[in-house]
Amino acid sequence: MNLFKLVWIELWNKKTQLISSLMAIVIGIGVIVGIRTINVYSEKAVAVKLDNLGANILVLPQATSIDDYSTSDIDAPTIPMEYVEKILTSEIKGVDNLSPKLTRRITIGNKKFVLTGIQPKNEIASKPLWQNTGFGKEIQASCAPSTAENKSHGYEDEKLKRKGVDSLDYTECLLGAQVAKALNLKVKDKLKIQDKELTVAKLLVETGTVDDDRIFVNLKAAQEILGIKDQISAIEIMGCCNAISDGLLSKLRNILPDTRITTIGQIVSTQIETNKTMKKTSVIFLIIILFVGSISIGNYMWANVNERRKEIGILRMIGTYKTEIYKILLVKASILGLIGGILGYSLGTIAAYYMGPAFAQIQVSAIPIFLLWSVLISIGISITGSLIPAYFAAKFDAFSNMQEE
């Protein structure tokens, strides 16, 4: 025997009470972990979306919605190629980069992909981060980072790495990670889309977005394959932040009246809004759980203390120090906290895994660092909730109870 074993035997004997008292903590932490997990992945998704747009202004056909834009249906509206020229030949300042795109869903075999025609040089220049799936900085980066900033973010190296894309040929294609997997293709393999044979020039790193299902080809080739000559589905523009605030958008609208011109900010703002709400919700939950959890654990420990005044009396009778009684109660609280944290984390992660796709349209996986936080918070709550009862347990005169039996 030792005191630790005593605690252990006791907890084991009180499994059911223990679990019910942990419910509040488990559910609370579960909710926080769930929200935060979805939150993190959702933020990532926003960042990745921004990355993949690689631009901060979109010129779209009047009738297009933003979702159509990323995965255009067969009959999605288009705009003429000459609009690119229109912008270039105008006197509008602050347009760093133009990138016309043509996007359509296609079927190869019986698998569905997205075919995107791009103008390689432009595309690359205004698309800084294929590989980066981090989040936060990119939101600012989309606002035309200066060359120096680019360098510090390592963009230059990225560009070097993607030299191949620079020269995406009429007969070449780039494959998203899922495409390569689904069609079992490697670099230099041949891919036939309708009658056109293309050589795989590069496989793209998995991003977790629709880009993984994309086949990138030269814009001309795309127009040919899809039979939509001289038409594009969007022009992505990298505009300088200053220029945008100086009314770049309305200037563009003036020369392209029958288009829909919008900023990335508008596109992702709903998602950013959702993320903000989720963050707020999780903070609120954190506060609630701190209260409810402490009270619930405190209640258990308190009931525990009352229920077992006699046992504490016995321990004191056979010569257990008050400090040892405190230790027993605190070790108990820590074990409860540890269990609560682990269960809560598991619950939240599992919930996020199943609810992420349903509510936020994103794939979610476990975030291990949250386990540490869950356990720390849970132990914190549990110990806080135990302190007062522990104080009384070790303090009160247990022996007046010994005789009342």
């Binding site: 025997m1 030792n2 016995i314 321990l315 004191r316 010569g319 008050k322 010994m402």
Partner: protein
């Protein structure tokens, strides 16, 4: 040599309905190896006296000492130390920890004295043999009869070879046959192991086992060995 000395020991409980002088002016000297019985009407302060001598409740007046060591004003820790080293308890309600098995209950005092696991097992097993419970080692208290539970409590009281055993109506919850068995056993460890026993009891049969018989009334010593004090 005296194992316990008290000088005008008193305990006044502060209750919201008023003060209760549970014991007062208790002056006794208990010789080592004696078998002391404390009798008296209900509410006369027997349990209070016992718990005070054990350092479980603090006296409000007077002083007491163990082997001439003053214990009246020492720190709580020291009292706990005194109990874990020198004292065993046997209570009317057995006072066993309900979720611990027989052997685990008996090992507790040894655990507090930081005896190694191996030794704990050895000592506890052999003590449980002497009380005839060698085949109930892994039973929980609720899986034992009342007499068996009290024998576990006795084993626990003896296991750290105390110099003093306090017993508060140890046979109060047992039928007369079992009571005699337990009392005989207490007498035996008192005589063989030279353990001083201080036992509170209602029953004249139990009281007869003592060689020092203290009778309390209204918190004061009425007689010692039938000799009227007051």
């Amino acid at each position: 040599m005296d194992i316990i000395n008290t000088n005008n020991l008193g305990k006044t409980y502060l209750h919201k309905d008023g003060k209760v002088d549970a014991i007062k002016n208790i002056t006794i000297a208990v010789e080592k190896g004696s078998f002391v019985t404390i009798t008296g009407p209900s509410g006369s302060g027997k349990t209070t006296l016992l718990l005070t001598l054990a350092g479980l409740i603090r006296p409000t007046s007077g002083a007491f000492s163990f082997l001439e060591k003053e214990l009246t004003h020492v720190h709580d820790c020291e009292l706990a130390q005194f109990r874990r080293k020198n004292v065993g308890f046997i209570m009317q309600s057995f006072a066993l920890i309900p979720y611990l098995t027989t052997i685990q209950n008996v090992m507790m005092p040894l655990a507090l004295n930081k005896i190694s696991k191996q030794k704990q097992k050895e000592i506890a097993t052999s003590v449980l043999e002497t009380v005839g419970l060698e085949n109930r080692l892994n039973h929980l208290p609720r899986e034992l009869s009342a007499g068996q539970q009290q024998r576990v409590a006795i084993a626990r009281a003896m296991v750290n070879s105390p110099s003093l055993i306090f017993a508060d109506e140890p046979t109060g919850n047992l039928d007369p046959m079992l009571a005699v068995e337990i009392l005989d056993f207490l007498k035996e460890i008192n005589e063989k192991n030279k353990i001083t026993v201080i036992m509170v009891t209602h029953s004249p049969v139990a009281a007869a086992y003592g060689n020092v018989k203290i009778h309390l009334d209204k918190g004061e010593i009425k007689s010692i060995n039938e000799k009227i004090i007051k």
